[in-house]
């Protein structure tokens, strides 16, 4: 071959065009996820395997209610309750669209039929009542359905003497139901009083974000309050605060770590250790002076009251 022939080379086959079997641009973008915190591009399947935690910087992505259930609850023990409790439109509320339409859109977006999923299941063998909030459903906002589902969940827990875990992720009370939503704060707080009277444990887990009417009611009333790392938690939103006080807020303001430092929560726990920690806490509270049917610590009394081995002195 002469040298100049090399440059005369012509493709004998037609250039490869993206075929239909190849991935579309949208699928391609779904295949990879960029971490909003460290900007690393992560293979989505790997992220999902890692409980939606960035393997590089430990950033906790938001996790859907059913993914959380799959992670926390022992296989084949989950039994969902309260599914039939559905929102109505007591104020005939219309903003830029009808409340009913907002609900339909939220259902499609989130895959849940309200902003909380409730049920009973086992966690490492301990039967437990669960409430798990779904942020993509209208910002995880609390209206009558969220309030009622939490109330019924707690009533069931009282009946069956179960500990309760609620994982919160919410922008606050739902505006579309007006004062009905505000009063759910009182309803959920009242039912938690009954839980307390019955000496049942309530573990409140705060996930990103937990604000407003949810943080100012049941979420902050946990016997023990746990938060996921770097979750944003507060009463008023940062923008409202900045507008009010006219100054920039510190960088870690309203994070889990900030709340821990200010004495408002007990623990900051990585999602990977959540199941283990929660199980341990339930176990540590499972035998108490108020146990059923009698004082479960009675048996220990004999052991403890044994005289110590006398010393030789």
């Amino acid at each position: 071959m002469r040298l100049k022939d090399l440059f005369n080379f012509k493709r004998k086959t037609r250039p490869i065009k993206p075929s239909q079997e190849m991935i579309s641009e949208q699928e391609l973008s779904e295949l990879w996820t960029q971490c909003p915190s460290c900007k690393t591009t992560i293979y989505t399947a790997e992220l999902k395997n890692n409980l939606m935690i960035c393997s590089k910087c430990e950033h906790h992505f938001r996790l859907s209610a059913y993914d959380r259930i799959e992670h926390l609850v022992d296989a084949d023990t989950w039994e969902e309750i309260n599914c039939s409790i559905k929102p109505s439109n007591p104020l005939k509320f219309v903003d830029l669209k009808k409340y009913e339409d907002s609900i339909e859109a939220a259902k499609k977006r989130s895959g849940s039929n309200e902003a909380i999923v409730t049920g009973v299941g086992k966690i490492d063998g301990f039967e437990t009542a669960f409430g798990i909030m779904e942020f993509p459903f209208l910002g995880g906002s609390m209206g009558s359905v969220v309030g009622e589902r939490i109330a019924r969940l707690c009533e069931l827990a009282i009946e069956r003497k179960l500990p309760v875990i609620i994982i919160s992720s919410s922008g606050g009370a739902r505006m579309h139901e007006g004062l009905f939503s505000l009063l759910q704060m009182a309803k959920t707080s009242a039912i938690l009083s009954k839980l307390r009277e019955n000496k049942l444990l309530f573990l409140s887990v705060l996930a990103d974000p937990t604000y407003g009417g949810v943080s100012a009611s049941f979420a902050m009333l946990g016997d023990i309050i746990i938060a996921e790392p770097k979750a944003k938690i507060g009463f008023a939103g940062p923008r409202v605060i900045e507008e009010t006080i006219r100054q920039k807020l510190p960088k870690d303001f309203q994070t889990s770590e900030y709340l821990l430092e200010h004495g408002q929560i007990d623990l900051v726990i990585s999602r990977k250790k959540l199941k283990e920690t929660v199980t341990q806490l339930i176990k540590l509270h499972s035998k108490t002076l108020y146990g059923n049917p009698t004082n479960e610590l009675n048996g220990f009394a004999d052991i403890i009251s044994q005289p110590l081995v006398s010393s030789s002195v």
Binding site: S84, I85, K86, P87, S88, P90, L91, F93, V94, D95, L96, S144, V145, G147, E148, A151, A173, R174, M175, E177, G178, L179, F180, S181, L182, L183, Q184, M185, A186, K187, S189, A190, I191, L192, S193, K194, G213, S215, A216, S217, F218, A219, M220, L221, I233, G234, F235, A236, G237, V240, I241, T244, I245, Q247, L249, F253, Q254, Y258, H262, Q264
Partner: protein, 325 residues
């Protein structure tokens, strides 16, 4: 004739009233020495016209106009009400852990001879200095802790509790968050459900969201006629759902924040009428109406046992909600 004539603050819809008042004033001055019957008649006619017009305006207010009355700078606040509600008022101070919040005041009041109550309410303050001290009626967490301490005092001594609520909301500030605004409100709400003495909450002005509810978990929840009670301020709601604060009148409509709407929805127990032209026109008459209402409800609540009072309140709040099943 009314406080309104020398008031410095005039709402838009009150303007025709002010014009009429000025006319009456002018006529009265110019004819002060005129004994003619027809002049007197025309003054009386104008006065009658004034009352009719005021009645008509005030009975046909839009929700956002009621909001303006609820926020009127001359609206009576807790420290004004207690002067008219009873005798022997002694204000008590402090949360017992370092603060005395000015946005929530409380104390002991002899409502009727021998009937002591604990009054806890919001104070917005008069004049810029006082307003700053009261933080415009927006409590910090310490305010809610102070309220709770006073509620416990009432419970300890078996005294009924009256709360008077008029707050834009809990204060959205850096320190408030650092000190646990959410937790303070949550604890108050929960502890109020557990109280075993009669609790009557009256929304007297703005019932601003969680900050208001933290004082409103009561056996009876009453509202002054022009007060409002809402999950979010109409401005805040409009900014989020309509994406502009300019739609706040629409949001005020949609949110159903007026006393009539909330009574219809069975979310409050009673509306207390205000003096004609709004509570700011006549404090003592409005207070008299409030007192009458408090006494009629206490008449029933004082006959209930501590356990019944707690159970009734618990069930009342357990049952709020609108859903289908």
């Amino acid at each position: 004739m009314s406080k309104k004539s020398n008031s410095s603050f005039v709402l838009d819809f009150e303007k025709p009233l002010i014009t009429l008042l000025q006319e009456i004033d002018k006529l009265e001055q110019s004819s002060s020495k005129d004994e003619r019957q027809e002049v007197k008649l025309s003054i009386n006619g104008l006065k009658e016209q004034f009352f009719e017009l005021r009645e008509r305006i005030y009975s046909n207010l839009e929700p956002h106009q009621r909001l303006q009355i609820a926020r009127h700078p001359e609206r009576p606040y807790t420290l004004d009400f207690v002067k008219d509600l009873g005798t022997n008022w002694i204000e008590l101070h402090g949360d017992r852990s370092g603060h005395d919040d000015g946005a929530i005041v409380g104390g002991l009041l002899e409502l009727e001879p021998g009937l002591t109550v604990v009054v806890v309410g919001n104070e917005k303050g008069r004049g810029i200095k006082e307003k700053q001290r009261c933080n415009f009626g927006m409590p910090q967490p310490s305010g809610y802790k102070k309220a709770l301490r006073l509620f416990k005092h009432a419970e300890n001594f078996g005294l009924p509790i009256i709360t008077l609520i008029d707050t834009p909301g809990a204060y959205p500030g850096l320190e408030a968050e650092a000190n646990g605004q959410s937790g303070a409100i949550a604890v108050n709400i929960q502890e109020m459900t557990n109280l075993k003495v009669p609790v009557i909450a009256i929304i007297t002005g703005e019932g601003g969201s969680g900050g208001a509810l933290a004082l409103a978990v009561a056996n009876r929840v009453l509202m002054l006629e022009h007060a409002v009670y809402s999950v979010i301020s109409p401005e805040g709601c409009a900014a989020i759902l309509w994406r502009t604060r300019e739609k706040s009148a629409d949001a005020a409509n949609a949110l159903k924040i007026t006393s009539n709407d909330l009574l219809n929805l069975k979310l409050i127990d009673e509306i207390i009428p205000e003096a004609q032209g709004g509570a700011h026109n006549n404090y003592s008459q409005t207070s008299a109406n409030i007192k009458k209402s408090i006494l009629s409800h206490l008449g029933i609540l004082l006959k209930m046992s501590p356990e019944e009072l707690k159970e009734e309140k618990m069930n009342k709040f357990r049952n709020y909600g609108a859903f289908s099943e």
